[in-house]
Point group: C2
Chain length 457, copies 2
């Protein structure tokens, strides 16, 4: 029989076991923190009805959707009725609308699942990737205070992920819109175009942007262009400075005043949530999903790796599920794209292959003593120590080599000597050291060693 | 705008948050036990190339496959290049063949992901469901001892899942084949047909099966039919009895002797692994995937709910990935179909809606004291206690009602009195009781209460 090449589709991140462990630890850390802040788990099916999934979208997103068909439907040449989710927000909207009467509001959910986009194949672009989302959904209304809670959660997540210094950056769409209005740029579409130009600031420089804005296509006055450039360059380094910067913008129309008040309340509360002022800041250049977000918007960057871009983004939206229900469901949400983040951290050398989840390997000296090996393993497992037993046998040197390659730190040897004396020889593969310990002390000893390894991995 | 009905596709199990928590706890328990026995995590993409996925299959499975197409491919009328996995075994085969040189053998992996089958919509049949698999894959060979390890893992899982008495039942395909040969039923296809008839024993009774086997279509002699009926009714209640029953089958051809020796070794080792003899048994009626498994086969049933059928099945196979690689990769694996199991346990009243993952709700008496509430919450979270703060406000009675509905057990009240006295009022929603505790003692007190709740939930 001819062999079929064993290969995965392009644009997916399939990991070897020790990398999968590192990835899984990140997922666990995120989940633990989401739960610690009182968010509840939700999982939705990978497929939705196409009509449900594609009500709101258009353009780029729809072009990237993967459609799904059963064999029967395919044979009959039907149009695909199902499609894979491309984010977790549309499924959340459908979920909340479908189960509205069974949920308590404000509804606080976390969801950590894979999503699918038919992206052009490209390094660092994924067609399947994890999103780790939290959202708080209100019914009829939702206090702006929740806009301060999400950065507190995100701070807690990234601190524990231990990936270096980061800054959660905030802006407010109402403030932006009001500010543009005050400059006579009132049309939403024109605001969008201006923001798109302003986004090129880092790459093309201020002169280029200034020229474009005052050029033929935009035709803004020089002082207006200047004010826009100054606005988008506002960054704070403390809550107090943020307040001063916001005040310095001067009076503006209603929506600007509303946005300013919201930002101030949110920034003050983030501090009350216990987030150090070094870890969040005003950044008036952040726009994000212009047609979707209506108030607070967030981005998070690694201070030492700005080129990675935002590792966690989100914001406030007016109505989650208007396409499915007449109930008004305002919300605020934020999302970590973990697959991409993990990949970038690995590229930057900030995460490495994990230690194995297997703590101990029990070697096999003599197959007639198998029952003894199994009994030791059973004891260790009972104490919560992940233990593998060599069942196959073979030379001891080969068993050590296996442990080394598999990243297992502690290897136990129970030869005739040890069994007679009631002791175990423990070989520490990391320290390249070995010691003898009484059977009765084995669990206690290994627990101490493993706890120390946790602290200084 | 007309509303789109918010609905999920049929054949999926979407859960409300407290049910999702119950489900998640089962997933966590399974994973913890898989890791405790030294299995390593693997995740594969939900999609595989169709040609990779469908090399080995045919008939029923292929008819149930979901094909996937991007918008572009759909518009061009192309044949779908991708399909959703229908189990975790084919992706494992592809994974091991693709990464063969980066893996250590015996390769011990666990994988807990959803799989997809275009089943006919029917109560209790799912089109999307979790499988939780473990497999040990050898290179060139794999000791039969591993066939004893998987039942030990499964015992550990189900004991901890705490879903009542269960029995892991074993048979061996070699023994079966050899036994049939010894009766002159040598043709593999005829063996399959006989086994299919014998499978009707429970439903149709021995007389019906006896008549069919001795009837025109099979034409077996009466004593042969009798021997087959006796064989498939063998059940052991201890290892010793199993050995006696196996010996009582009498001598047989080579493959029968091999199967008998394997079963004896496996049964003895399962006991050495520490599995009580009440929890595993010989059951010579178990056949399973006749063309796939070659040695040991497993099924697991709940003693008090036999109608649920096997909740965990698997077996030994000769060569995992022959369609992708020339390497010989024998293995042994077992799988828990968790979605179906969870659904059945819930139907039988054996699992209920979980307590919330949220341990504590901090109420809001006075919005001007928000910073105090946030500070308490922050302390609790720092101590690993999952805490939600009421940010919206509203009447205290409504906040209590929210906690009750959301299944949150402890509600904290910090009014002016409490803040002045440096205490907190803790309301225990379960016991309908409340007590005052000094701020400095709060974490310690809640930890004790929560630990007690863990023991007697």
């Amino acid at each position: 029989m001819a062999l079929t090449p064993a290969r995965t589709m392009p644009g997916v991140l399939e990991l070897l076991p020790l990398d999968q462990i590192a990835f899984q630890r990140m997922l666990d850390t995120i989940r633990r923190n989401y739960e610690r802040f009182g968010f509840l788990p939700v999982e939705t099916p990978v497929m939705e009805f196409s009509e449900v999934l594609l009500t709101k979208t258009g353009g780029e997103t729809e072009r990237q959707v993967y459609f799904v068909q059963s064999t029967g439907s395919l044979e009959q040449g039907e149009k695909p009725e199902l499609a894979l989710r491309f984010d977790l927000t549309v499924p959340l909207a459908r979920y909340v609308a479908e189960h509205e009467h069974d949920l308590s509001f404000p509804f606080r959910r976390y969801q950590m699942q894979r999503v699918y986009r038919g992206e052009r194949a490209q390094r660092g672009r994924f067609r399947e990737f994890y999103q780790c989302d939290i959202d708080v959904i209100g019914k009829d209304g939702l206090s702006v205070r929740y806009d301060a809670e999400l950065p507190a959660v995100i701070y807690s997540v990234f601190r524990e992920l231990n990936i270096g210094a980061f800054t959660i950056q905030l802006n407010n769409r109402k403030l932006m819109r009001g500010f543009f209005e005050s400059l006579g740029v009132s049309d939403a579409e024109q605001q969008t175009l201006v923001l798109r130009e302003v986004d090129k600031l880092d790459k093309r420089g201020a002169d280029y942007v200034r020229e474009t804005l005052t050029g033929a296509s935009f035709g803004l006055a020089a002082d207006v262009a200047e004010k826009i450039l100054a606005f988008v360059q506002v960054r704070s380094s403390s809550v107090r400075e943020a307040f001063e910067q916001l005040d310095a913008l001067g009076a503006g129309p209603e929506s600007m005043e509303q946005g300013r008040a919201e930002l101030k309340e949110v920034l003050g509360l983030i501090r009350d949530f216990g987030v150090p002022e070094s870890h969040f800041a005003l950044n008036l250049s952040i726009a994000r999903g212009l047609d979707y977000y209506t108030g607070t918007v967030y981005e998070t960057t690694l201070n030492d790796y700005p080129q990675i871009g935002s590792i966690c983004s989100g914001g406030r939206y007016e109505n989650l599920a208007g396409q499915y229900t007449k109930s008004r469901l305002p919300g605020v949400g934020i999302s970590i794209g973990l697959t991409r983040l993990y990949w970038q951290l690995r590229e930057a050398g900030l995460v490495s292959t994990a230690r194995s989840t297997v703590d101990v390997l029990v070697t096999q000296m003599d197959e007639s003593r198998m029952a003894d090996y199994l009994a030791v393993a059973s004891e260790l497992r009972g104490a919560g120590i992940a233990t593998e037993v060599v069942l196959e046998g073979g030379k001891l040197a080969r068993q050590f080599k296996y442990a080394d390659r598999a990243g297992i730190r502690f290897v136990l040897v129970l030869g005739e000597d040890e069994l007679a004396k009631g002791v175990v020889t423990v070989k520490d593969m990391r320290r390249e050291d070995q010691f003898e310990v009484a059977r009765a002390e084995l669990i206690k000893t290994l627990r101490v060693e493993l706890a120390q390894a946790e602290i200084a991995p």
